[in-house]
Symmetry: D2
Subunit: 356 residues, 4 copies
Amino acid sequence: MKRIGMLTSGGDCQALNATMRGVVKGLHSIFDEVEIYGFLDGYKGLMYGNYRKLKPSDFSGILTMGGTILGTSRQPFKMMGVPTEDGLDKVPAMKRTYKDLKLDCLVVLGGNGSQKTANLLREEGLNVIGLPKTIDNDIWGTDMTFGFQSAVDIATETLDCIHTTAASHGRVFVVEIMGHKVGHIALHAGIAGGADVILLPEIPYDIKNVFKAIEKRNKAGKKFTILAVAEGAISKEIAELPKKERKAKLLERTQPVAYEIADQIRAKFNNDVRVTVPGHTQRGGSPDAFDRVISSRFGAKAAQLIADKDFGKLVVLRNNVVDAIPMEESAGKLKYVSPDDAIVKEAKTLGICFGD
Amino acid sequence: MKRIGMLTSGGDCQALNATMRGVVKGLHSIFDEVEIYGFLDGYKGLMYGNYRKLKPSDFSGILTMGGTILGTSRQPFKMMGVPTEDGLDKVPAMKRTYKDLKLDCLVVLGGNGSQKTANLLREEGLNVIGLPKTIDNDIWGTDMTFGFQSAVDIATETLDCIHTTAASHGRVFVVEIMGHKVGHIALHAGIAGGADVILLPEIPYDIKNVFKAIEKRNKAGKKFTILAVAEGAISKEIAELPKKERKAKLLERTQPVAYEIADQIRAKFNNDVRVTVPGHTQRGGSPDAFDRVISSRFGAKAAQLIADKDFGKLVVLRNNVVDAIPMEESAGKLKYVSPDDAIVKEAKTLGICFGD
Amino acid sequence: MKRIGMLTSGGDCQALNATMRGVVKGLHSIFDEVEIYGFLDGYKGLMYGNYRKLKPSDFSGILTMGGTILGTSRQPFKMMGVPTEDGLDKVPAMKRTYKDLKLDCLVVLGGNGSQKTANLLREEGLNVIGLPKTIDNDIWGTDMTFGFQSAVDIATETLDCIHTTAASHGRVFVVEIMGHKVGHIALHAGIAGGADVILLPEIPYDIKNVFKAIEKRNKAGKKFTILAVAEGAISKEIAELPKKERKAKLLERTQPVAYEIADQIRAKFNNDVRVTVPGHTQRGGSPDAFDRVISSRFGAKAAQLIADKDFGKLVVLRNNVVDAIPMEESAGKLKYVSPDDAIVKEAKTLGICFGD
Amino acid sequence: MKRIGMLTSGGDCQALNATMRGVVKGLHSIFDEVEIYGFLDGYKGLMYGNYRKLKPSDFSGILTMGGTILGTSRQPFKMMGVPTEDGLDKVPAMKRTYKDLKLDCLVVLGGNGSQKTANLLREEGLNVIGLPKTIDNDIWGTDMTFGFQSAVDIATETLDCIHTTAASHGRVFVVEIMGHKVGHIALHAGIAGGADVILLPEIPYDIKNVFKAIEKRNKAGKKFTILAVAEGAISKEIAELPKKERKAKLLERTQPVAYEIADQIRAKFNNDVRVTVPGHTQRGGSPDAFDRVISSRFGAKAAQLIADKDFGKLVVLRNNVVDAIPMEESAGKLKYVSPDDAIVKEAKTLGICFGD
């Protein structure tokens, strides 16, 4: 009899259920007897001992279902040493639940913050397996997280819809795409959606270069221009400030950067500029086929790691191979877009302006 | 030889090209020789004589294409009697283009404002046929406009995406749906997307009733609530003000109503409330099958009317029959949602709160 | 306390769950206490007393879910008087279950055959409400059945996919669309998908007219032609035979009509002709926004009829109004496409060939 | 002034236009003056000198458009040495066109057969760049071809649709997925679509193992089973025959393998078994975001190779990097699924039966 705990943590995304289904299908095909304990609303469930014992039928039909049947909560442990509001000491509380349920392993589906916490539990002696969830694809050590491609699909559909309306009206459209610290979604969706300008947190922009890109299109007789702007896009002026002043400057902002850029373009060209913010839709809906395949493969790998008692690992995709790396290698590190990435250079070859 | 002018006016929507294709296919099957003059960017093209002579091949492959191959412009003629910035007298200028090209008929694809202008040209003696375009489905005299169902699809997809993320996090989501004066899209998408609360311009809300709806769901153990809010949703307090004060009050607003409502819910429940604004995506992308069918039928009808020299008509759908009514019957009138509409009562039977 | 039985019968379609959700949401908003008995696999469940007592939570999240949570079975009662294989007398067995469970009403979601059976149970004194389910939209008395528009969407998507490949290769494509006796899906999807030829059971075709349509396109420089052919499309030769001979002739067929027509075109033009059969996908997947709206409205109406003890009715949509008609008015009658329907004439105006 | 020829050859797929757009956007951003000669209908156009001179505007708006604006033709050169029907010597004819137009390079978007021909032209001294097109993802030397992921999407959607109908009726469904020689699409779509059985050309099946998989599901209370079967799936019995006898045996077949397997299941279990064949839809429709990204990157790379006069190369994706390999390395080699591939083993861990 194996007793496996499982939880989903951080912002939700499209293939959480698909991945859990993969883990559970894998466990049932490897072990004769398995009990699955699903903790509710992320680490909170582990801390307070809130869980559901899950039957195989709970995982039927959820391959295509967005969200998470376990619920999730965001960044609950910014300071792990600090007790909760109700005086609970977090880590010991989570360890206690793990021990009380006599778990053989805890499977954590989560992004950077959640994997950091998972690593902390590993250091405390728990058997933990991490699965790389996030729409942002910013987990260090894996080429691909599940959720990313589906988020790119939705952001791209938004750009497609905007394309027809922009072309009809001869407008400039600024589409704000998720990504506060990293710009992978905006980069991929921008290319896929035929954006003319892509602005990312990792490549500070000079608004004058954006103006030039618009002028160039105008001269070529193109009536419209589309900008794919990551939430965390930053101007060179602000990026070059010392850290403290930069933070202060960013806090002064009264509106999202997409609106700010729209205002600047409007002021410059006196034309019709619109902003669209697909927002949380980028986390929602069904996972696409790509995500379902890697989710299923990740799940199978997690089950195999449990069978091999190969704990303390984060499941990753590297050069098309599903693999596992020590959790501590990845924990706390982000995978950024670099201006030197081949894909950025290729995008520039296509004539896309990054504002740098 | 028939010489037919055509233009698309007002906000773009999904089946403009499909409808033009229908008109042109119909004309070519009825007449041996037809010349199609497509005016660019709406009435501006007619006014300044900017047009493209269109070949049948220009209409190949555009059935599924969003936007308009002719371009469009919004409400150019708020005051038809006023000359343009460059001193052009609008109506005479348009008449001149019509006469110069020796047109037999002008086909206008447009919403309320555009049909009003079309009617004005009719009064001036031009042969005009109107086609009821608008995502809002607010043209008086037709059960259905083309563009509406496709817009409902996109708003519904947004609600679907929000559903999975709302359920995973136990959040309240306010989704702002297009519709400043009329709430048909929000009403239909709200029902289709399983919204718990629908707020419309035509049915002023009391925020206390919205609170009650959220409390009721909480008591029933539902962790999340979804509101579909039309852009023009209005509170009872404001709706009941005298017109002048109401206008002043609305102008004071510093943020869209969806954000205002989100703030109120947050203040009341101290919980996690998010806003999503699909915005212009609701106008974009490919038309759905429903819109392509009615667009094609509308187009065929327009061609038939031209063959019958039955001018001055607006093509409409009434009780599933494609028909035509005198333009002046519809011009200047909006088709509102009524609180007494059967669909509103049915939605209430399903437990949906309208805030009234 | 109200005790309501519910079953889904016949071929599955896209909005069965959405409709049941509507009925149940409606019942819970009208009555303080309701018990829902869901019979499994259609009338079989009623006959053998196989049911699940359903909680409100069983209907959460199923608005978008294809298929039916109750399961269904096809035409189980071709001869209602004949006992089942295990000697069960059908009608009495169903009445017994109804009485044993002390039901106040039985809600039947089904197509023509299923509504006929529902009517029979009504004649036997049971309180029955029918809901018009079928992708074929062939139930007499309602303008629209739920499932139809979603099926049209999928058939149209198939035509869209075929369009790009047909155009690239310069091929003739024959797409077989569901509809043995009635051609509503093929007619609507054919128009929406830009088919050049539409062949329906109700409008027998002369293959020579199909040849002419292909030749006409070839002459106009079009490299490809797309045919939307209903499963039950029939040639004039066969249609004009006396009934007995016609049946014999149809039984002789060794392949579906789409393949037969493809062979004839290939023989005539010696060109590249392909056949595509989307088949059961037309019944599957999520309901579209249109279907979810009418399903929800139908469900609310059914709940209202139960509240009003207005039994023996079939819920229908007539001129955009959700209404109810006596079951016996509809039972046993099919709603066909007529060559005289305005939509057929409009399609002909667009240049679409029906082979007649 | 650069003069670049371009052609699309073989079966069409979803991102041909997106890739050509990438090439052309790249060329225009690198070179001040470029002339693009698009050969019509694949190598035929090169052979007969049929081409269109393409303007930048020809590539506007085609990023999302399925098919190919140049047209294509299948395997025109089974025997390159043999003259055409009209006595044309193929290779010299193609060289002549190339020389006459004073081309600097010929860009070939094509699959295995087409790249073999491209390599032959390279050997004849022409400057050639190959771009790896095919829904099958079977080109040796690249991890990914464009078209593959979009085809997987469509095959997966078919499986999704079938899922709801299979579950509702408790049926066995056999879905035939494209892939005569290689099974990558069926493998990926099968995993993504939650198939219970996946049968591939590379892994011969024993029907008894398929029966066992169905029995296992029946015992687990699952009412339905879904098989994803590649067109070229082959039974062990036939696969083990000597080549000549195997060929003979396959020629004897009167129906596609999916129907054969359905018959066997029906005979064994006496149950309701259905077959669905999405067919050519798998080649059609818009490319997905994934394909548009790699297409754009491939196109940029091709432009760069031309700038670098680095001819005779096939553009490939290797470990997430867009690269180029000598054409002769890939030409004539297929990339098969191997039973030892990690993805196959992972799928087995998930409980998927491959019949081996």
